[in-house]
Symmetry: C2
Subunit: 231 residues, 2 copies
């Protein structure tokens, strides 16, 4: 049951420190990963309670049972979902990143305004395109019967590789400090290695691959390496 | 072929006025609609060239051919896609709305910072959840063989109705001036009427339905009523 794995350890630790945020997570989701990498890079770990969720494979085609706290946090029923210290529900990784960066990060991962904001968001949108294609493909691969469409799987593979090729251009201009585009691109590369290593995304994006070799060594990336979804 | 319907009339009109934005559109997409409603509400119509695209039904499971200008505008291959006057590619409706509101709209649809920004984005994320569920269901319904999953269709119907029920709470606090949450919610309601009238979303969200009755009468909404996707 999604959210049922929440532990007393987590809950108690934060009740003592007053108003904290709650983030619903799984270790496999690249959408969760980009948020958690932002949290680590911004030094916000003490302000966020991580609440594990469980997802039986049926999630791909069915509404799975939600734990009450998760259902309360997000009517959409997807992870990540953040509940702020003020009780506001933010149920989308892009909105969550925008909020953490602005309210708790002094805009260090994405400027508040100006040309650089839009350059970064232009790259973010392409990296999100790669993420979404990879997740849609994963959901399709979890279909076990005649309802699996090999055409759809191929469409999503092709889309992700187009996005990686486009990120390859962007990677040439990535700066020395991590930003939201790099974090999102890194999550996309990491998920490709986790689920679709045979695709050879590095062939489509050799500069991105060189950049990722270094970026993947950051503590924030090492500590968020994908692991299988708890059932 | 996507983008092939671009007309000389459009192209010539804007070459005379110098640097303009290009937006790739179809009349059926609620993602496009939220962007175009923002454009109309912000009074930006003279600054944006609308470029029609065509989508054969095969888009649901296959990579369809892209016109060269569309392929250049977005590696993701989805609409809407915006090319700014400076040539920056923004390929995601949320990023496009953020850009138009900030750079060309004096933040009239979404404040630049502060509690109200996050309240609105909290509602936007739920409305986007309804939109995404409705589009995923549409793609599934376009599958014509054994690869159509009735379970998946039901999951997406259930998710959309959960989101509408959550927006019903939000609707009680909608202000008199349109904001990005209202525009996105309005696009979700309009798409539900267009594709899934039989679901009866108004039963799940009676306050939202009353609000929508008025909101749907705005010129920006009347002028963007959904029409079938050009093949």
């Amino acid at each position: 049951m999604a959210g049922a794995a929440r532990t007393m350890h987590h809950t108690q630790r934060f009740e003592e420190t007053g108003s904290v945020m709650q983030l619903f997570v799984t270790p496999a989701s690249p959408w969760v990963r980009r948020v958690v990498v932002c949290i680590i890079e911004l030094g916000l770990e003490d302000k966020v309670e991580m609440i594990p969720t469980r997802w039986p494979h049926e999630w791909a085609t069915r509404t799975v049972p939600f734990a009450p706290d998760f259902a309360q946090a997000t009517p959409v029923g997807r992870i990540p979902a953040l509940v702020t210290g003020q009780g506001l529900r933010l149920t989308d990784s892009s909105v969550i990143c925008d909020y953490l960066n602005a309210e708790h990060g002094q805009y260090r991962l994405l400027p508040q305004a100006g040309e650089r904001r839009w350059q970064i968001l232009s790259q973010v949108a392409i990296a999100c395109g790669a993420l979404e294609a990879q997740i849609s493909r994963r959901a399709e691969l979890l279909r076990t019967g005649a309802d699996r469409s090999d055409d759809f799987i191929d469409k999503m593979k092709t889309r992700a590789l187009r996005c990686f090729a486009a990120l390859d251009e962007a990677a040439g201009a990535f700066g020395p400090e991590p930003d939201l585009a790099q974090i999102t691109a890194g999550s996309a590369c990491g998920f490709a290695d986790f689920r679709y290593a045979q695709d050879g995304w590095r062939d489509a994006a050799p500069r991105l691959a060189r950049w990722y070799e270094t970026f993947a060594g950051r503590p924030s990336m090492i500590r968020t390496r994908p692991a299988e979804t708890p059932q």
